[in-house]
């Protein structure tokens, strides 16, 4: 546990003084994400800014410094049988809370338990003028002022240096069991959607290699009853499977091929491309492995009601995020300017033009 707030503000002020952009780095486990940027840029290191500041299990609220590792949060939460309900991926043992929010990363339970952005209640952030600001709070409901905390989700640090984050946490379900079925992708997608309409304790739905996985979480009696009602065979060591999916450790992800992430209508039928698919989030997130042009992938994503990004691999000097329409691009640029007028934070990381 250590507080680097003062140094971080000084570093931002110094960077501003010199008009010297910086790279914001926490645990450095997500360097593969976003666009590749100038590696010569000085690093603004958050990894030493750590520690859980408050955690009141009965309030379901936790506040930690942004450089706190997910591992440390996991340890504290599990003592009280609670969890980060958005199941953030651990791409390495040093993955931090700040990086998770900046990259807007959530795991298999996301459609049912919400995303990291959903659970954020407040942030402290240093803007491009070196001002330490505070938005949101440590309570579940707060509609005073603009929601700057959630705006940070997906901004990849381009709006400021998050130094402290407050989150809603949830109890761990009493029971979790997983069913597995043999079926093809299109059939799996339609089963996932059908099951999602039922008021049953579904908490994850994924398909890969001609197998559909449905996870049930909740009260023992509810999970057991649904399990026998839905049939299928039970997956043993299921927790391991879901963790490997969450952390991209499954064989599917262990490749040098470009990995594309589609966020789409959960019922969408994706075209038969030459590469491989993995379906997660009950159909709302599709992973695709294969060489392709961003523009072609964007066309497919739009057809499916959503967006695409080049998540890992491929050409990272080009754009990797779905191209926003001109008006939305202009708004993002103006917002960037509103927070970071000198363009100090992570230039080019999110978009070439930001």
């Amino acid at each position: 546990m250590s507080d680097k707030q003062v140094q971080l503000v000084d570093q931002v002020l110094a960077a501003r003084e010199r008009r010297q952009p910086v790279r914001i780095v926490g645990g450095d486990t997500k360097a593969f994400m976003g666009r590749s940027t100038d590696s010569a840029l000085p690093v603004l290191d958050l990894s030493g800014h750590t520690g859980i500041l408050t955690y009141h299990p009965v309030e379901l609220v936790l506040t930690a410094r942004a450089g706190t590792t997910l591992a440390e949060l996991d340890a504290a939460l599990s003592e009280h049988n609670q969890m980060l309900s958005f199941e953030p991926p651990r791409f390495g043992k040093n993955s931090t809370l700040g990086g998770t929010l900046a990259c807007h990363l959530s795991g298999p339970g996301r459609p049912w338990w919400g995303s990291v952005r959903d659970q954020v209640l407040g942030v402290r952030l240093i803007n491009g003028q070196g001002e330490a600001l505070r938005f949101g709070g440590q309570v579940m409901k707060n509609v005073a002022g603009y929601d700057v905390s959630r705006l940070q989700a997906g901004a990849m640090g381009t709006l400021g240096v998050m130094t402290e984050i407050s989150l809603k946490v949830l109890p761990r379900p009493a029971s979790t069991r997983t069913l597995v079925f043999d079926c093809e992708m299109d059939e799996a997608v339609s089963i996932m959607n059908r099951r999602s309409v039922e008021a049953k304790p579904l908490s994850a739905a994924c398909w890969l290699d001609n197998k559909l996985y449905l996870r049930l979480s909740g009260a023992h009696s509810a999970v057991d009853a649904t399990l026998s009602h839905w049939g299928g065979s039970e997956l043993m060591d299921a927790e391991h499977f879901w963790h490997r999916l969450r952390d991209h450790q499954l064989d599917f992800f262990c490749t040098s091929l470009p990995l594309w992430r589609f966020s789409v209508n959960p019922t969408a039928r994706m075209p038969g491309l030459s590469g491989q698919w993995l379906v997660d989030w009950g159909g709302a997130q599709r992973w695709y492995l294969g060489n392709a042009e961003l523009s072609e992938m964007e066309r497919i994503a739009v057809e499916a009601g959503g967006q695409v990004s080049l998540f890992r691999g491929g050409d990272r000097s080009a754009e990797v995020m779905h191209t926003p329409p001109q008006a939305v691009k202009a708004l993002q640029q103006r917002l960037k300017h509103a927070f970071d007028p000198d363009g100090l934070f992570n230039p080019g990381r999110l978009y070439s033009w930001m």
Binding site: V58, E59, H104, R110, R117, D118, E131, A132, V139, M140, K141, V143, A144, G145, Y146, D147, V148, R150, L151, Q152, A153, G154, T158, L170, P171, R172, N193, R194, S196, V197, E198, K200, P201, A219, S221, A222, D224, A225, T226, F262, S263, V264, T267, W281, Q285, A304, G305, G306, Q307, H322, P325, A327, V328, L331, Q332, R334, L335, H337, A338, L350
Partner: protein
């Protein structure tokens, strides 16, 4: 950065009305005082202002054209849904146009498989759940005005309801919104998928009180209706014990669908009004609703009942059918009108606190209540810490409204002091702009202004609402410093009392 809140257009009412009537049904361009009158306020009626014009476009193109003209002429635009808001967020601007979205009242699509509905902004909150009902689905957030309030207004205020702890606020239940920018440009934020690339503009827009754009279409998530819901009512002989019981439920790993608390004043008023069978001798009452599958509800209801008994509840009753459930809720749902019966006027506050601070906050509030001689009844979304103190007053007694406003302001400041905030779900609007500096410092506020300027550099969208000027902040702080603690009567919080 713009720090001004007022805009003075150079165009006259008649000229502007003429321009609008060129492309909008003249009947829907309102310029006479008599017809303008109903638009002078929202649900917080003590704040009122007559607008220059009210316009009710019927198509997005018309709304777009209204915005373009207003942008060109620097005319303030105040968007309005059903006008049920409780913070004067939809109060008109004297020299501005009220852009009523009332004609946008169609449900465009319900996709039961993808569990989503695409609706126009003037669709009522409850109408979405009614339309989705035949597929066994519903829309989660249920503000108590849900029978009348519109989804566009819900987006503007990030509305909550009694089921927030489990099902989230509006921001958690949106997929996308279509908007018009101040220039009249159409944009979409979000998609049919769950998460979008880049900074989360959809979240920023939600709860922005009509200051950043005008919502023209909303895509919401629909949830499967729970198989069963049951409610346990429990009376307690102290607020502290009831508060502990709430914590104990959470510690048990149970997230109730609804978890409401009422204090003794609210219990007595509600029971007299609704005859719900509440224990009128109790100091605090909890209503804990558990929903889910049959098995889960059965398991959790047992746990909640025995937990309440173990913690010393003075009475415990559980609903065993829909009729009993509705009856137990009836008292809570009619708490506001019930309080309205025991007092000529009441003023509903909306602060949020960490739940653990409840007993302290209620004790403090009781002390302030005695000091200023105004009664206060409390209903509390206990699950998520959202407090609704109802201050009872009589607007016909000279000075009593001012006293009420002062008391209300002090309550909000108390909420901030214990780690909470000045508004959980009603919004800032005009009403709480005075207390914003209690929650945010000038640097935070200045950042809010820069955000506003990124969307609306001239400041014509809903001016004077939501974010105070830095000058207002300075006035607040100098006043706070010059006032002795507890000399409430001199403290001029410029705020409002409301009746229903």
């Amino acid at each position: 950065m713009s720090d001004r809140q007022d805009v003075h257009p150079g165009v006259s009412r008649e000229v502007l009305a003429q321009k609008f009537r060129a492309f909008i049904d003249p009947e829907y361009v309102i310029s006479d005082d008599e017809t303008l009158k109903p638009y002078e306020c929202d649900g917080l009626s003590v704040y009122s202002e007559m607008p220059m014009l009210v316009v009710l476009p019927e198509t997005v193109e018309q709304a777009q054209q209204v915005l373009r003209i207003c942008h060109e002429e620097r005319v303030p635009v105040v968007a309005r849904g059903a006008g049920t808001g409780l913070c004067a967020g939809a109060m008109p601007h004297r020299e501005g146009v009220v852009l009523s979205m009332a004609k946008f009242n169609r449900i465009l699509e319900i996709n039961p498989v993808a569990r989503a509905a695409r609706v126009q902004p003037g669709v009522r909150n409850l109408a979405i759940s009614e339309a989705a009902g035949k597929y066994g689905l519903y829309y989660g957030p249920d503000p108590s005005s849900q029978i009348a309030c519109t989804i566009g207004g819900n987006v503007a205020e990030n509305s909550g309801g009694v089921h927030c702890l489990k099902y989230g606020l509006t921001v958690h239940n949106l997929l996308s919104v279509d908007l018009l920018t101040v220039e009249g440009e159409r944009i979409t934020l979000g998609s049919e998928g769950l998460d979008s690339c880049g900074m989360d503009l959809l979240a920023l827009m939600t709860g922005s009180e009509g200051l950043l754009g005008i919502v023209t279409e909303v895509r919401v998530k629909l949830l499967p209706k729970p198989e069963v819901a049951q409610v346990v009512m429990a009376g307690f002989d102290s607020v502290q014990t009831a508060g502990d019981a709430v914590g104990a439920i959470i510690a048990e790993g149970i997230i109730p669908g609804g978890l409401e608390m009422m204090d003794s004043h609210a219990i007595v008023a509600a029971e007299a009004f609704a005859k719900a069978g509440y224990p009128t001798e109790a100091k605090a009452l909890l209503l804990c609703e558990v929903d889910g599958t049959e098995e889960e509800v059965h398991e959790h209801i047992d746990a909640v009942e025995s937990l309440f008994k173990r913690l010393g509840a003075t009475s415990v009753r559980t609903s065993h059918n829909e009729e009993e459930r509705a009856r137990l809720w009836q008292g809570r749902k009619s708490a506001f009108p019930a309080v309205g019966r025991i007092s000529p006027d009441y003023y509903c506050m909306d602060g949020t606190i960490p739940r653990g601070q409840l007993a302290h906050v209620l004790t403090e509030m009781e002390r302030m209540s005695e000091a200023c001689g105004l009664r206060v009844a409390n209903v509390f979304h206990a699950g998520d810490g959202n407090l609704h103190p109802l201050i009872l007053f009589d607007a016909n007694v000279p000075g009593e409204l001012e006293k009420t406003e002062d008391f209300g302001g002090r309550i909000l400041e108390l909420c901030v002091a214990v780690g909470g905030c000045i508004t959980g779900e009603h919004g800032v609007g005009v009403e709480k702009i005075r207390q914003m500096p209690a929650q945010f410092n000038d640097l935070d506020i200045a950042q809010f202004h820069r955000i506003k300027a990124a969307f609306d550099p001239a400041g014509t969208l809903n001016p004077g609402k939501g974010i105070p000027t830095l000058r207002q902040c300075q006035e607040y702080r100098s006043l706070e410093m010059s006032i002795e603690p507890n000399s409430g009567a001199e403290n001029q919080l410029h705020r409002e009392g409301g009746h229903e």
